[in-house]
């Protein structure tokens, strides 16, 4: 897995920070937040496709992690444990939204506004001006395709393809078996291949 470039104290072992957090050291937790905030936010954003919702859900996830860090036993990495919280919070939110609304999460008009290149919050690579329009269209197509997956299928595809997590780490984060992870990956890939064939064939 990749690590964030903005780590303020990369020399401090993660487990030491966790132990300090468990003693109530909020500065140590701040350090963990600094290490993982971008990845957590990015993961959630790719799940919900809405900047403000992703921000709030990332905040909620970290707050929940702070409250329950006393129960972290160190049997997995902090990041895997954190991802479990992130996934619980996010999948729960997506399900509620699907129940509340008509089920269609994706709205092209909203999407074009939300991925405004001038946006201050959404993490994104820098594109040349001439590429921005094309990037917007591609991004919109990808988000639309991902929004057609179930929350669980979104989670596995994003953790595997973007975060490069191992099957066992994904299984731990989602609280399911490795077989279930592989099965979900199979169907999620099939669906995305069908939906995005025109896009990736032109790369």
């Amino acid at each position: 897995m990749n690590t964030e470039a903005t780590a303020a104290q990369p020399d401090v072992p993660e487990l030491d920070l966790v132990k300090r957090c468990q003693k109530g050291d909020s500065e140590a937790f701040d350090e963990l937040v600094t290490r993982y905030r971008t990845r957590v936010f990015g993961m959630i954003y790719n799940m919900v496709h809405n900047e403000q919702d992703a921000w709030d859900l990332a905040q909620d996830s970290f707050l929940k992690a702070w409250k329950s860090i006393g129960r972290f036993r160190g049997q997995s990495s902090f990041y895997t444990w954190m991802y479990r919280i992130v996934m619980n919070v996010t999948i729960d939110w997506v399900r509620k939204k699907q129940i509340k609304g008509s089920g269609a999460e994706f709205d092209d008009t909203i999407q074009l506004r939300e991925i405004d290149p001038a946006s201050k919050t959404v993490p994104k690579p820098d594109f040349a001006p001439s590429e921005k329009m094309e990037h917007q269209e591609v991004r919109a197509q990808i988000d639309k395709a991902i929004s057609q997956l179930s929350p669980e299928h979104r989670a596995v595809i994003l953790m595997k393809e973007i975060e490069d997590m191992q099957y066992n780490e994904i299984a731990e984060a989602l609280g399911c078996s490795i077989g279930t992870v592989m099965s979900r990956l199979f169907y999620a890939r099939k669906k995305l291949q069908n939906l995005l064939k025109d896009v990736y064939e032109n790369i």
């Binding site: 909020s26 905030r37 971008t38 970290f62 099957y167 199979f186």
Partner: protein, 171 residues
């Protein structure tokens, strides 16, 4: 025993090896189509990685600041809860108070019951042996015979008589 979906996923991700890999590839009905699909999966992976990978959260310091504020607020709320819970009516104190109240109740109950025992032993040991109207002595005449067991005395109490009949005379 892995399902086909699990083996296919492992094959796409390069997680199969040795005899498992050979057995799976031998089981594929159309190897060319399978390889094409593997290529498509690779392209999809590249596309997702390129488009969805993140570099930096623009307002990251504000994100941390906001989170610190929320944690601080939660901490204050918890402290408030703790201070409320550490007030006079803590659970142990409630238990002690309950036990004390129960003890007082028992003492009072025992005292009242003992008091009732004394009441049963009334000093008025006199009892009515006989009470009757006596129309022969007078129309409103009543005759009551009391016995005081403590002093061993019998009292004849008459009312409404003009004179004492001879049969009531002390013997």
């Amino acid at each position: 025993m892995k399902t086909f979906e699990e083996k296919w996923t492992a094959w796409l991700d390069g997680e199969l090896s040795g005899s498992e890999l050979a057995a799976f590839e031998a089981s594929l009905p159309d190897r060319v189509a399978a390889e094409a699909e593997k290529q498509a999966a690779q392209k999809l992976r590249l596309l997702l990685k390129r488009e969805l990978s993140i570099s930096k959260l623009a307002n990251e310091e504000f994100f941390s600041h906001q989170l610190r504020e929320r944690i601080g607020h939660e901490g204050n709320s918890n402290t408030g809860r703790e201070s409320r819970s550490s007030g006079w009516w803590t659970v142990p104190r409630l238990l002690w108070s309950g036990a004390f109240a129960m003890a007082v109740f028992l003492v009072c109950t025992v005292w009242v019951m003992q008091d009732n025992d004394f009441a049963d032993q009334s000093p008025l040991t006199t009892k009515v042996l006989n009470a009757k109207l006596d129309p022969t002595a007078g129309t409103d005449a009543t005759v009551t015979v009391f016995e005081d067991t403590e002093d061993n005395v019998t009292v004849l109490w008459t009312e409404g008589l003009k004179s004492l009949p001879s049969e009531y005379a002390a013997k």
